[in-house]
Every structure is written in C-alpha cells, then in structure tokens.
C-alpha cells in the first residue's frame, strides 16, 4: 500500500472517531454522522484508486446495486421497524466480512483449483481468516433470526430445546477444532465451509431460545460481532482502517449490551440462556382474573385537568399502537396550560436502546423533556399523575421484593410513588416477562383500557373542549 493510501486511511479512521465523539450531544450528532460517512467515502475512494483493483465492472455494479437497495431500505422503512432494520443491515455487514475472508482464502490458495494448495500464508492470517468466517457467518444468521423475531415473522417466545447450553458449546467447540486443523493444513478448504455451516447453525440455535423482549441485547451483541468480524478481516488483509473501525464498533456493541443487561439486572448469560419471555399477544386474557376498576378517557381527562405535574412512561405498546403523535399533542396541551410534563424513559423500554427517544422525537417531542430513569426516578413522589402508556415490566413493583420473579432486582420506574397512576393498556395480560403487574391492582391506579392511540386521542379531544 502506498503512503498516500495509508495516510488517507488514517484520515478516514480519524473521521470515524470524531464522528462517534460528536454523537455525544444531540446538537452535534447529525454532523457527527456526516463526518463518519465522509470517512467512509474517503476509505472507499482510496481503495478504488489504489491500483489493487484490476477490473472495475463487478465493483461498480456491486456498488450501484448496493446503494440503491440501501437507500430504499433507509428511506422507506417505518421508524417502528428500526430495530429490525439495524439487525438486517448488521447481518449484511457480517456476511460481507465472511465472504471477503473466503475470497481472500481462494486468492492466496492459488485460486482456480481448490484441491491444490499452492499458497503461502502466515499463521496470523490463517487464524483471523477462520475467526472472520466463523464470526461473520454467526452474525448474519443470528441477526436475521433476531430481526425476524422483532418483525413478528417469527414467534417472539423463546423456542427452547433440551441441553441448550451443551449443544451450543459442542457446536462452537467443533468449529474451533476444525479451525485448528485448517490453520495447521490450509489445503483443507472444506474445513472452512464446514466451519461456516457450524457457525450458521450456531446463529440459529443460540438466538431462537431468547425471548423477543431481549432482542435488543441480541442485536447489540451482533452489532459488536460484526465489528469484530471486520477487525479480523483487517488482520487477514493487513488493513489498519478495518482493524480500527471494526474495533470501535465492537467496543460500541459490547458497551451497549452491558448497559442493557445492567438495566435489567440480569447477566448476559441469563439473557442468552435462561429462556425468559412469552409471546406478545395484546388480546389474550391473563390466567388469573383479579378485579380492577375500569376508568374511561373522560375520567382520565378530568384528573389530568387538575394536575400540576405529570410524568409519562412510554413503552413498547406505544410504538405498536403508533400513538406517539397523539401523545405529544396531549403533552403540548398540558404544557400550554402551565403544567409540568416530562417523559421518563427506562433504559430497556421498547425494542432497542433509545427506541422510545427516537419514537418520541419523531412526534416532535423536545429532547429536554425526555428524561432517563436516574434523572427522574426521585421525582415521582412529587408528581401528581404518572401516565403509563404501553409499558409494563418497567413499572412493576414486584421487581423490588418478589424474589422468584424474573424481574427481581431490575431497577424500575417508581410510578407507584406518584399521587395518581394512570395506565393505558389494551388488556390485563402480562408483558414479556410473563409476570402479572401488581401495579394494576393498586388503589391509586386507574386502568384505562383500550387501544393507546384511541384513548389518548379521546383524552385530547375532551381536553380541548
């Protein structure tokens, strides 16, 4: 690689780092994304002009097709499908890494005839080649399954099978052993293919036992894997910009995964192996029929009218009902009347870290009223009305004291400390943890049943009159 290319790759890497740094504030975030994309552009242009490319036909064709599809995805997807989209895009990246590793193997093996090994490869190249194929394939398959679960194409409930941990361990071990064989004798081209096959199986078997609500953790982990796969490919090709970028992304994914697990007070091992969760079916009835008092939107409007401070807790149900616009309209009306209105966002509300923030931003909610749990949890005791829309597990007081609950120990939003609690839900059925929510049976809780969008719209209309 010539000096200009190497230095340009360094510039590209700096653009990525600066871009990510600018993501630390909503004021600079958009520019940061632009910076990062500039870095990508530099890296691409440098690669195209570096003379390693002998034939441009396939390259340009691929770029054009990829750009068109990418643009279509990005501009046409609904915001509620964002988690799935990230999963799919991520999977594609992992798949690309694996394919490049394969292609590089074929190139150094003397191409044409795979049964004859004429190549001469360093140990580190061979090792990272195996890792890239393994991680890349695992990523693309795992990401697709995770996205399918999120999109509802596949059932959200965990698909459990006996000896889950052992089976996954054996498959992984098998892949590693084969990898060792391959590294010792690189002419064993089929070993690479079998490793890819095992990785694909692992992608399925490790993801299907995880419940739909935990998919954000999976997607974050897969995000990290695809970065790692990229870094491994960087070692294979001795390309430093690949190593740097892949590592940055790998670190990002791991940090987010860690944050989410801490927020649920569950270890990563628990998320991956414990099979927590049920199918999300908003219309089904709970097993136990305990009585609650049903309130109407009229009652809700009356209470809200006399409130001075309101905190709104959004959850996945808000996204499903697409009620964020109606909700923000309500917030605007309340704010105009001089009430203090804020949103309380639990770290694992929704299907992706920051999901609620994006949803509400789409409804033009100003971001300074979107508060994190740590910022707002102590304020509930001074709040007149806590309005829970589409959230369930994150406000379940069982998490504080019920030791056998899957939610036990998870930090929750203290809505039950507020003077009045209003819950908008379609029915009494449990959230993803399958746990009944004792908040609903509390004396100061008003349950307003119905579709969130309908309910909120009715409240808005009542308040306008």
């Amino acid at each position: 690689m010539n000096v200009i290319s190497a230095l340009s790759y360094l510039v590209a890497s700096v653009c990525f780092i600066v871009g990510l740094k600018m993501l630390s504030s909503p004021k600079t975030a958009r520019r940061g994304n632009g910076f990062a994309s500039l870095g990508m552009l530099i890296a691409i242009v440098v690669t195209l002009t570096d003379q390693k490319i002998l034939d441009f036909t396939f390259v340009l064709g691929g770029l054009l097709v990829g750009s068109a599809i990418g643009m279509w995805f990005a501009l046409r997807i609904k915001m509620t499908a964002m988690p799935q989209l990230v999963g799919v895009l991520n999977g594609f990246g992992g798949g690309a890494s694996a394919l490049v590793a394969f292609a590089e193997y074929m190139r150094i093996s003397g191409d044409a005839d795979l049964t004859v090994w004429t190549g001469d490869a360093r140990l580190d190249v061979l090792i990272t080649l195996v890792l890239s194929v393994l991680i890349g394939t695992l990523t693309i398959v795992g990401s697709m399954i995770a996205s399918a679960k999120l999109h509802g194409i596949m059932r959200g409930a965990p698909i459990l099978y006996p000896l889950q941990k052992q089976i996954n361990a054996v498959i992984l071990l098998g892949a590693i052993v084969l990898g060792v064989f391959f590294v010792l004798d690189p002419s064993l081209w089929y070993a690479l293919i079998i490793i890819a096959g095992l990785a694909a199986i692992l992608g399925v078997t490790s993801v299907i036992p995880i419940g739909g609500a935990d998919m954000p953790v999976v997607i974050s982990l897969m995000n990290s894997y695809s970065g790692l796969a990229g870094a491994m490919t960087g070692f294979v090709l001795s390309n430093n910009v690949l190593i740097i970028s892949g590592t940055l992304v790998g670190a990002s994914g791991l940090i987010l995964t860690n944050i989410m697990c801490k927020a649920m007070n569950r270890s990563l091992a628990n998320v991956l192996f414990a099979g927590v969760g049920v199918d999300y079916d908003p219309s089904s009835q709970p097993a136990e029929q305990r009585s609650v008092i049903r309130y109407t939107p009229q009652d809700a409007a009356t209470i809200l009218e006399s409130a001075q401070s309101v905190v709104i807790v959004p959850g996945y149900g808000l996204a499903v009902a697409q009620a964020q616009h109606a909700l923000q309209e309500l917030v605007n009306i309340l704010t105009q009347r001089g009430m203090q209105v804020r949103y309380a966002i639990h770290p694992v509300a929704g299907r992706m870290p920051g999901h609620m923030n994006v949803l509400l931003a789409e409804a033009n909610a100003p971001y300074d009223i979107l508060l994190e749990m740590d910022q707002i949890n102590d304020d509930f005791q001074n709040t007149d009305v806590a309005l829970v829309i589409g959230a369930n597990d994150v406000v379940n007081p069982s998490a504080r004291h019920k030791k056998d609950s899957p939610l036990y120990g998870m930090p929750i939003l203290n809505v039950d400390y507020a003077r009045t609690v209003m819950v908008c839900k379609r029915s009494l059925n449990p959230g993803f943890a399958g746990e009944d929510n004792e908040l609903f049976y509390n004396d100061k809780t008003m349950m307003v049943f119905g579709d969130a969008k309908d309910t909120v719209t009715k409240i808005v209309q009542l308040m306008k009159n």
Binding site: L89, G93, A103, E104, S245, L248
Partner: protein
C-alpha cells in the same frame, strides 16, 4: 512480517480503549442512532470487499467479492442514511419556539 503484525495488535488495543472512552459518553437519548451509526461504520468491510471483487479474473472469489460488495454497500448506505433520518428528528424546546 511480524513487525507489521505487532503494530496491528498495538492499533487494535489502542482502538479498543478509544472506542470504550468515546462511546461511553453517548447519552441513552442517542443510543438508537449510535447503534445504527456504529453499524454503518462496521460496513468498512466494504473496503475488503472492493479489493476481492476487483481481482480481475472472473472466478468464484470475484463473485463472492461482488456479493460482499453489494451486502456491505447496503450496510453502509442504509446505515448512514437511516441514522441521519433519525438524528434529523431530535430537537429541543428552544428551537420549537423560534
């Protein structure tokens, strides 16, 4: 050449530290754009794909490389565009009153 490998390992380690530092500063408010944005950056694998697809002789490796180019480009273009789309929506109260 071992020296080149050692340097790459240095870079890997340093990049990991930088990554942890930079990303820890991103507030939960922006975690979704962080995921889609960092995901777009992972599309850097496109660089490797371009080289593989541009080999010259149309063998299996070139075909694999081309598929990799398509996949990685979708990752990059889709990722940056969707991140921008999301970030456009974040505004604060002050601007609302302008």
């Amino acid at each position: 050449m071992t020296e080149g490998l050692i340097i790459s390992i240095y870079i890997f380690v340093l990049a990991a530290f930088v990554g942890v530092e930079v990303i820890s500063k991103v507030p939960p408010l922006l975690h979704t754009p962080l995921m889609s944005g960092s995901n777009a950056i992972s599309g850097i694998t496109l660089v490797g794909s371009l080289i593989a697809a541009g080999e010259g002789h149309a063998g299996l490796s070139v075909i694999m490389g081309t598929i990799a180019v398509v996949l990685a480009t979708i990752n990059v273009v889709g990722g940056f565009l969707v991140t921008d789309r999301m970030l456009k929506m974040f505004r604060n109260k002050r601007r609302k009153e302008d």
